[in-house]
Symmetry: C2
Subunit: 435 residues, 2 copies
């Protein structure tokens, strides 16, 4: 089983920052992140996963000022991972990078650099920008439309990987006596001329330990799944039933196979939002403690944001969800939530409470044994290769998972007791692309 | 006296990588950089300075394959400084960033992130791209012309600093009981709409420990000096006489004053390329040892590059420098070198040997006492506030400076024995801009 740790600074739950055991300045506390990284590594987890956005997510400052999770206050992930590389030895380090507002040369170079610094532990989560406020920070009145963003992302990944292959692994002879630093036969420019990018290359850095740092992708729409099938080593998905997860996995693998890839080279990990207690009652208390801390203004604002910045002002909190138009923001989250509200007959308040916690991810509440049972069930059915654990609050939620659930998974032979390799590709069972 | 350490991976001398004591894979060896950072911190130096380019510098692969200094193989500086923040406590960490091919929102965010991670030790060297090969990696057939690059850089700095001021220092109340994470009165968007950038802001990160990370600039042309006077806390300059350095410093300070700045708020540091031996003969041996390792093909290629990629093919190595046309690349280096060749009557070979070593910076060769005498002479005359030390080879050249010259400067009361502050601004005697 593969396990990643998803690290919002204070935890994934919207009210986590108000939890008495959570440092409220977690987003810019390097000591906090170092502790999280060491805890995850103590659990022998595969990787850390850092979500990101290049703008605060939302426009109403009064509402934003009551939340800590909407990218208002946290480190930039690549600089942070540089620092975390130094306090860890084995765990993978993955950063979210938007193809919409970055240059592939810079991103390829920073990721290769992180891979060298960490000796083969780098990865990236390739996204297209969903948060409409990002556009304003890069000179645009709104994002390019959905199809254009995905086409750009596909070309972005192609250029990044192409740059990683501009040097052969054996190009660096460094022969002092002969004065030959590298072998000219080992380098070739990329000479990419595409719709969105023209990039000559080569990358000005030796090929990195993993050849290609690991690519994660979280496509969920039809276009998103195609992008994942074409580019991803690891697909991160929000699913809330084993059957849906299995259908998703089969679909993404089939798309990958159609593109000529080995479907087993695509690992599918589902988000899991776990509350773990020594007893079920203790776990449920942990849920209620956080749910009670949700501010209604924050809950409603968050729901609006998740629905593509739908206008919910004046909605009856205890009535059904009104009609939500399709917008130019991420479509897949909107569809998932509207379907959930309709199927389960949720009120606006119930939906925002649902959203404010797991935000569409699979919530699991119980004892170490029962949580391990549920994870094992998905895993054994072939629905997923593992999970990205989204601790509700930090560091406590991660400690609970590492100290209570991981030992239970080990007892069942489902999870490693020691790292057997040194790179993130080793941990994930992914072959190293040669050149 | 202020002292920075300029770190090319193998050292500043073009043949350093061939030196028997230099690790030839230095550019991607994190252990090497950690050792350099600790050595510089042991000497209580003000900061590390990382040069950078987003492309190999030059197009002839056969020639490039014989050199290690032309940005063919080294870490990306911001990821590297993230890692070095963790192995140091006090020393400043500065990265070169080109305004020509970066987005100010990303750069502002990464620098603020590094400032938080390092608890107030970040700085940046704002440059315009000179290396024509960078353009090809960002979709352009050549750089925007000189004036446009500088106008963009000036606006880039304005946006970056504006973003650093989008939050007040006391905005982050983090009141768990009241549910107030920040005070909405403490944030304002930037709403910049300029010639080159439109950026709304705010930055999605609390104001950083230094308020503004330290800005370095190395402008030398008329336009470049204006940029330095308008934006820089520290000006880095190549000078080879005390009188020229003094004239430069007075000129930059006068320009800053004309813009309404306190001229003492602009620190001027000259590059120094030191060979230090316990005797003068030992120092000279160190010079010769490296000069003897220069490959003629590399020397000529380097000279061409420094002259704005002038065509030197077929030049008589033992004849005078032919006429060199003005190009769209950096003008100031070309002018300096052509003047040097004419004034001193240097042959092409003599010029490339001069260039291949110090590349226009001030070369000082001698004992700890004589080197300290020369530095003290420039410093006491008011020509400069200090130096950026460019060790010819690493780690040896930095160790020589720290272990031999720094103690001599201390004996004269010219350099600190302990850090008295915690931030780079503290070290440099620069006020922290409030907001």
């Amino acid at each position: 089983m593969r396990l990643g740790a998803f690290l919002y600074p204070t935890g994934y739950h919207v009210a986590a920052w108000r939890h008495p055991e959570v440092p409220a300045d977690a987003g810019v506390d390097i000591g906090h992140y170092a502790e999280l990284a060491r805890t995850a590594e103590r659990g022998k987890l595969d990787f850390l996963f850092l979500p990101d956005s290049s703008a605060m997510r939302g426009g109403d400052t009064a509402e934003l000022s009551r939340t800590a999770i909407r990218y208002v206050a946290q480190f930039e992930p690549l600089t942070l991972l540089g620092a975390l590389a130094g306090v860890t030895e084995r765990i993978g380090l993955t950063a979210t990078i938007s193809a919409t507002y970055n240059e592939p040369y810079h991103s390829a170079r920073m990721l290769a650099s992180l891979d060298h610094i960490s000796r083969g532990r780098a990865g990236w989560n390739l996204v297209t920008s969903q948060n409409p406020y990002e556009a304003y920070n890069f000179g645009l009145p709104e994002h390019p439309e959905h199809g254009v963003r995905y086409a750009r992302a596909q070309e972005f990944a192609q250029v990044v990987k192409g740059l990683w292959d501009t040097w052969s692994d054996d190009a660096w002879v460094r022969d002092k006596a002969a004065g030959r630093f590298f072998d000219p036969a080992g380098v070739r420019p990329l000479d990419h001329h595409g719709e969105h990018f023209s990039v000559r290359g080569p990358l000005n850095m030796p090929r990195c330990p993993q050849g290609h740092p690991v690519t994660l992708q979280a496509g969920s729409s039809d276009t998103g799944r195609d992008l994942a099938a074409a580019t991803a080593d690891v697909v991160f998905t929000a699913q809330h039933s084993r059957e849906q997860a299995l259908a998703f996995t089969e679909d993404v693998r089939a798309r990958a196979e159609k593109l000529g890839r080995d479907p087993e080279g695509v690992k599918v990990l589902a988000g899991v939002f776990p509350f773990v207690g020594r007893t079920r009652a203790e776990a449920e208390e942990k849920v209620e403690r956080l749910q009670d801390l949700i501010d209604p203004q924050v809950g409603l604002g968050l729901l609006s944001s998740e629905l593509g910045h739908a206008d919910l002002d004046g909605s009856d909190l205890d009535g059904p969800l009104p009609d939500i138009p399709v917008s130019n923001s991420g479509r897949s989250r909107r569809d998932l939530l509207v379907r959930m509200a309709r199927e389960e007959g949720l009120t606006v308040r119930q939906l925002y409470k649902r959203v404010a916690g797991s935000r569409g991810h699979w919530q699991v509440v119980g004892t170490p044994e029962s949580v391990a049972d549920e994870l094992a069930d998905w895993f054994h059915s072939g629905a997923v290769d593992g999970f990205i654990v989204m601790p509700p609050y930090l560091p406590g939620g991660l400690e609970d998972f590492v100290d209570l659930v991981v030992p239970e998974l080990r007892r069942r032979g489902l999870f490693r007791t020691e790292y057997t390799g040194t790179t993130l590709r080793d941990h994930l069972g992914l072959a190293r692309p040669g050149r």
